[in-house]
């Protein structure tokens, strides 16, 4: 058995390596490439090519656990880079842009969910999937396009900071609600348990920061990585065992490291570890994806892609204006925020644990199709952002002069 699993893991990592290289070569985001890799060699269609079986990797506990570690490490870094100081210093403008972003995009999400006949939990999940932009894809696209040195990046990254906070709260609530089973009573128990756990953890993270340097600082890189990853996964696992969100628990562990002298070391040593496990997470998403189910939700997908792209463009534009940017740069804020990715998929994995069979199959399939589309749309809208924002400005000018 172990031999078979080792071979499967080998196939998984090799296919990821190829998929990632291809995506990089064409300057495209890696997330859809990793998902596609999972779909290709996974148990669902395509199952074979010219009679050679493509069902090379099964949905084993090994890949699933690695994927879980990927989620935990993604959220750990979100916490690590979560800057309360920035949030407090710019609270007025950031609450304005964060508020616009949340109101506009969540409203579109709710409308989509209701229009396509989802129940309350389904609506909540669809809203989560379409609301949150992808920090990974956005940051990479901004870096490649050189926008980080422009004023619009401040608004884009500021919006992401607020979204990080919203998604932490959202995951905490939704994990408890979805995981709580059918009845209101059991859901309530889980919500209470999970909030007691997370509040205690948030407090520990807040007061523990001053001890972090002493506890985690060690000469040996290997021991350092083990301590950081070990603690994060341990706390995440403990959270999951009491019904709390492992992702949010990892987020709080990350916040304990924020502002310590160890940040730089974490960034240089733990990022590769995170990226390998995150790749396996996207791969696992692909493994669990049945393209036939994705095809079934094509109408929802098409409407969602158009409506939520428009919503992000509008909310981003408004946010840019709040920051006093000109029309061209404000348009770029919208273009910069279009990409959806890892967090939408984390919401989807929550949906996959739901007791409701419709939610369990439809929401994850929708999320996968949606993220594949939106990661490309988002990444391309930054790559062609200079031209697009210029034409937008000229269009506005033209209309005003009429």
């Amino acid at each position: 058995m172990a031999e078979a699993l080792l071979l499967e893991l080998g196939v998984a990592l090799s296919v990821l390596a190829v998929a990632g290289s291809v995506a990089r070569y064409f300057d495209q985001p890696v997330i859809p490439a990793y998902i596609a890799a999972g779909i290709l060699v996974g148990p669902h269609a395509p199952t074979s090519v010219a009679t050679i079986s493509l069902q090379l990797v099964s949905e084993s506990a090994v890949v699933e656990t690695a994927a879980e570690v990927g989620i935990v490490l993604l959220l750990f870094f979100l916490g690590l880079e979560f800057d309360v100081g920035t949030l407090v210093r710019n609270r007025r403008r950031l609450s304005a842009v964060g508020g616009i972003d949340l109101a506009v995009n969540a409203a579109v999400g709710v409308a989509l969910g209701v229009a396509f006949g989802f129940g309350p939990i389904g609506v909540l999940l669809v809203t989560g999937v379409v609301y949150i932009s992808s920090s990974a894809i956005v940051t990479k696209a901004l870096t490649d396009a050189g926008w980080l040195a422009n004023p619009e990046s401040e608004v884009i990254l500021g919006t992401l900071v607020v979204e990080d906070l919203v998604i932490a709260v959202y995951l905490a609530v939704v994990a408890a609600v979805v995981g709580g089973g059918g009845t209101v009573g059991s859901a309530l128990t889980t919500v209470v348990q999970s909030f007691v756990f997370l509040t205690a953890l948030a407090g520990a993270a807040h007061f523990g920061t001053e001890y972090v340097d002493r506890v985690f600082g060690t000469e040996a890189d290997e021991l350092f990585v083990l301590r950081v990853v070990g603690t994060t996964v341990l706390v995440g696992g403990a959270a999951l065992s009491v019904g709390a969100s492992e992702a949010v628990a990892a987020f709080f562990v990350g916040t304990a490291f924020h502002g310590t002298d160890l940040v730089h070391r974490v960034e240089s040593l733990v990022v590769p570890v995170r990226d390998v496990f995150a790749a396996l997470f996207f791969f696992a998403v692909g493994l669990g994806t049945d393209l036939l189910v994705v095809a079934d939700v094509w109408l929802l997908l098409a409407v969602a892609v158009v409506a939520t792209t428009a919503a992000k463009l509008a909310s981003g534009y408004a946010s840019g204006r709040v920051y006093g940017l000109d029309e061209r740069r404000s348009a770029r804020v919208g273009l910069g925020l279009v990409a959806r990715g890892e967090f939408s998929l984390i919401v989807a994995t929550l949906a996959a644990t739901s007791a409701n069979p419709t939610i369990r199959t439809v929401v994850p399939a929708f999320a996968v199709g949606y993220v594949i589309a939106m990661s490309f749309v988002g990444s391309l809208s930054v790559q062609y952002g200079a031209t697009l924002s210029e034409s937008f400005k000229n269009w506005r000018r033209g209309r005003e002069s009429l």
Binding site: E81, T86, T139, T143, G146, S268, A386
Partner: protein, 165 residues
């Protein structure tokens, strides 16, 4: 001088330096050690990427900018020992009597004892100038000679009789 510093989540740090006239130099230091240098010519302009450095290259460039490796010449106190002789950089003043004369006419070697190894004129350097080289105001003569020879040269250029005092 104002330097703006900001954390860029997931990337590293950004520094912006105002260089006058609304122009800004933007430096982005990535967590992986990569450094990018941008120029933004004014508030409306897009940042234009000038260079990407590895951390090693960045350190060397920074050292050059600081001027610790290579100090620009200060004419007041250049002093290169060369056995008994020294090399000095001496400027031809505006109202010097030698302006318009050739090196041969002035008999610099005979009058002062120095050898003119080169003349720096603006951005160009005339190496081993011949006797027919015409001296201009603002020329910097790179001359080799003893300390008293150098003093004689300075006196000659300033309009003295070329004799050291």
């Amino acid at each position: 001088m104002v330097i703006y510093e900001a954390d860029v989540p997931g990337v590293g740090k950004r520094y912006e330096v105002e260089t006058g006239g609304g122009e800004r130099a933007v430096v982005i230091v990535h967590h992986d050690g990569k450094r990018e240098l941008f120029r933004r010519s004014d508030a409306d302009a897009d940042a234009e990427k000038l260079f990407e450095f590895t951390s090693e290259q960045a350190r060397q460039v920074a050292t050059s900018l600081e001027g610790t490796d290579f100090q620009p010449l200060d004419l007041e106190d250049v002093d290169v020992p060369l056995g008994g002789a020294v090399i000095e950089w001496t400027e031809v003043p505006e109202e010097s009597p030698v302006v318009g004369e050739t090196l041969g006419d002035v008999h610099i070697g005979k009058e002062t004892g120095v050898t003119v190894a080169a003349i720096q004129r603006g951005d160009e350097t005339i190496g081993s100038p011949g006797a027919d080289t015409v001296l201009e105001a603002g020329d910097i003569l790179v001359a080799i000679g003893s300390r008293s020879d150098q003093d004689a040269l300075e006196a000659l250029l300033e309009g003295g009789d070329g004799e050291a005092d």
